[in-house]
């Protein structure tokens, strides 16, 4: 028996015999160029790993996009982080619904409670989940069909918070009556647009300065022809944009600035420059939503101090002026070069005298003292005071060598 090959072109003539009949009266039904809404299984939808606006904390975000944890596990980790933070602050909870403000509670202490960013995030997600449970998905997600082979997959362009809220509703909240599907506006892969995503982002409130910096980088990288990966990226990926600008891409200038919310070139450059901040500083600034103008002064100091200064900004709610003074007034780079400059001159003289103690004798010191004071009792009192001072100084040496 001869074994014909698998060349499907062998079918061509056969198919041609029926295609013309078939296409004769139904051509309009075959090709779909419309953007339409479909209900899609939640598991077939994935957030965009390079989306500038991040919903989950960085550590969870990275592990989720590296497929180390499932959506349910990612949310469980977030819940655990929030439970820990809440317990430390004396407001433990076991049920997620306890995070929501109590409508019957008329006390005015809601405004005084300072929530951590993670607490605020989870509270917002729970709130959104309850809205979805009660009212349904009013707005579908916008997703891009990135299916390959048998793997059916849709990447979220906009609506990541609704995605996480739906998972939260499905797996963590009571009375979920859905079927695990989520309505989505499906955009063909070839019509996906980083500019549309950017416009959607900037059109909404709450986009942090760091997210805007990432977004500026993403737009710059796109117009310069860089390939945008489909996996989680480190900040160094965005930092490639620090070497790029819009000067060589004049035809894109308007569309990029428009996608950034209609900002000017100077603001665009300022946002992009934030990518010079250290990784830790970027994460903190993103979580605590610190504005660009408060982060700008940090760029003048060494990267090793960025995270510490950001922590001070958060802890003491520093104003832009205070941050500027902190960064410019204390020259942190030269801080360690000559600490003696900042000490009282008398202390420095004393230290020099101590250093020179081996070059003199007790008799000479006694004679010099008598010559200056003219009285043995006063000279003795001076020496005792000095001894006491030196003993104290020694105590400081042993307890805090950095002083």
């Amino acid at each position: 028996m001869a074994r014909p090959n698998h060349d499907t072109s062998r079918m061509d003539d056969l198919l041609a015999s029926v295609t013309s009949d078939l296409l004769g009266d139904l051509p309009q039904n075959l090709v779909d160029n419309t953007i339409h809404v479909e209900r899609i299984l939640l598991e077939m939808v994935r957030p965009d790993p390079v989306q500038p606006r991040r919903v989950l904390p960085d550590a969870i975000h990275v592990r989720f996009h590296q497929n180390q944890i499932t959506p349910t596990q990612a949310l469980r980790e977030l819940v655990q982080i929030v439970q820990l933070a809440a317990r430390h602050r004396g407001r433990p909870f076991t049920n997620l619904l306890e995070l929501l403000p109590n409508a019957d509670d008329e006390r005015d202490d809601e405004t005084t409670v300072q929530l951590t960013p993670e607490e605020q995030l989870l509270r917002d997600l729970v709130n959104l989940a309850i809205t979805i449970r009660d009212d349904g998905h009013v707005n579908p997600l916008t997703v891009v069909d990135v299916s390959q082979g048998v793997t059916r997959l849709f990447r979220i362009e906009t609506g990541e918070r609704r995605y996480w809220a739906t998972w939260l509703l499905r797996d963590f909240l009571p009375n979920y009556t859905g079927d695990g599907m989520i309505p989505c506006i499906i955009i063909p892969a070839n019509r996906s647009s980083v500019f549309r995503q950017a416009k959607e982002n900037t059109a909404r409130s709450g986009l942090t300065a760091v997210a805007l910096a990432r977004q500026a980088a993403l737009l710059l990288l796109t117009v310069h022809g860089y390939e945008i990966p489909a996996y989680a990226v480190e900040n160094d990926f965005y930092r490639q944009a620090l070497e790029l600008d819009l000067r060589g891409k004049r035809e894109y200038t308007d569309v990029v600035l428009s996608a950034m919310g209609g900002i000017g070139r100077m603001h665009f450059s300022r946002y992009k420059a934030l990518l010079k901040l250290s990784d830790e500083a970027l994460e903190l600034a993103d979580r605590y939503q610190i504005e660009e103008y408060r982060l700008r002064p940090l760029l003048s100091v060494s990267a090793e101090y960025h995270a510490e200064i950001v922590r001070q900004i958060i802890d003491f709610n520093l104003t832009a002026k205070q941050i500027k003074e902190l960064c410019e007034g204390d020259d942190l780079d030269t801080d360690a070069t000559d600490p003696l400059d900042k000490l009282p001159p008398a202390a420095i003289k004393m230290a020099r005298a101590v250093q020179a103690s081996s070059s003199t004798t007790p008799q000479d010191i006694a004679r010099a003292l008598m010559q200056r004071e003219g009285d043995a009792a006063i000279a003795r009192a001076r020496l005792q005071a000095l001894q006491k001072l030196l003993n104290e100084a020694e105590r400081y040496l042993t307890t805090d060598q950095k002083l």
Binding site: P4, L22, I40, S147
Partner: protein, 278 residues
């Protein structure tokens, strides 16, 4: 392509050897090819093999050693919440065409029937997950085993259209009405009003045999069966050769009479799909 809702065709008959798997697999490939040729934006077709003999899985993927973790068995035994995800994980590409996907069967399906017997909601353990991923496909083709078992009930509940392959022999045609009645029982008894018998496919027709011609004439003349007649597939040695080489009939012998007949059936079904099942 926008489908009002994806049609799921189940090929069923409790008589064995009537060409269920052959028809299901070749018609599935034909739909893919025809939609692609017409530049349809979605020409993916999924074959769900519910027959524990796994013939459809074997000829389309070259394997029949699917087990507890990578076959329909794992979908049926999965938690209700995870069943659709499990189904997605188990789908494999066919060797025939990149857009023809298979949910393979496993010999373990025999055991699944016993394990699920008496479990609440068991008959819907295929319909639920298939319904959740159906809109990803232009059409779904379900192959069934030659008996009316729990798995066949599951397949019928997951389908929108039943196609009954039948040989033109006396006993087969006598049993035909009982097959259709059984499908109607499923529709009424399980409150599945969208299920309908959409076609009767006469297979292995040999026009040299007087009895075949006579029975075909009777079917055509029958007031109900005549209207359901979807196509007549001539008996053809190329079918068994195509099977043994794990190829589709269209690829193995595109000029064979059976290939041409199957393609006419495919054209009818594609037209039916494009009209939204009307």
């Amino acid at each position: 392509m926008v489908y009002a809702s994806t049609r799921s065709f189940v090929f069923t008959n409790h008589k064995g050897g009537v060409g269920k798997s052959t028809s299901a697999t070749n018609i599935a490939l034909g739909i893919v090819q025809l939609l692609r040729r017409a530049n349809a934006s979605n020409c993916r077709v999924l074959i769900v093999d519910t027959d524990s003999q796994a013939h459809a899985s074997l000829v389309t993927t070259g394997r029949k050693d699917y087990g507890a973790d990578d076959s329909l068995y794992s979908v049926l035994l999965a938690d209700r919440e995870n069943a659709a995800q499990t189904l997605l994980n188990c789908i494999v590409p066919s060797q025939w065409d990149a857009d023809l996907h298979i949910l393979p069967a496993s010999p373990m399906l025999e055991g699944a029937e016993r394990e699920l017997m008496g479990v609440a909601g068991a008959p819907y353990r295929l319909a639920d997950p298939v319904g959740k991923i159906a809109n990803q496909y232009a059409a779904i083709i379900i192959d069934t085993r030659p008996s009316f078992s729990l798995l066949t009930e599951m397949a019928l509940l997951a389908a929108t259209d039943a196609i009954v392959p039948v040989e033109p022999r006396y006993l087969e045609t006598v049993g035909l009405t009982s097959v259709i009645e059984k499908i109607n029982d499923i529709r009424e008894g399980w409150r599945h009003p969208t299920l309908r018998v959409s076609g009767l496919l006469v297979t292995k027709m040999d026009s040299r045999i007087r009895g075949h011609n006579h029975l075909l004439a009777e079917v055509k003349a029958h007031p109900v069966l005549g209207k359901l007649l979807l196509g007549v597939i001539p008996a053809n040695e190329a079918v068994s050769y195509a099977h043994s080489s794990h190829q589709s009939l269209f690829t193995y012998s595109p000029t064979a009479a059976a290939s041409k007949a199957y393609l006419q059936v495919v054209a009818s079904l594609v037209r039916y799909l494009l009209k939204g099942g009307d």
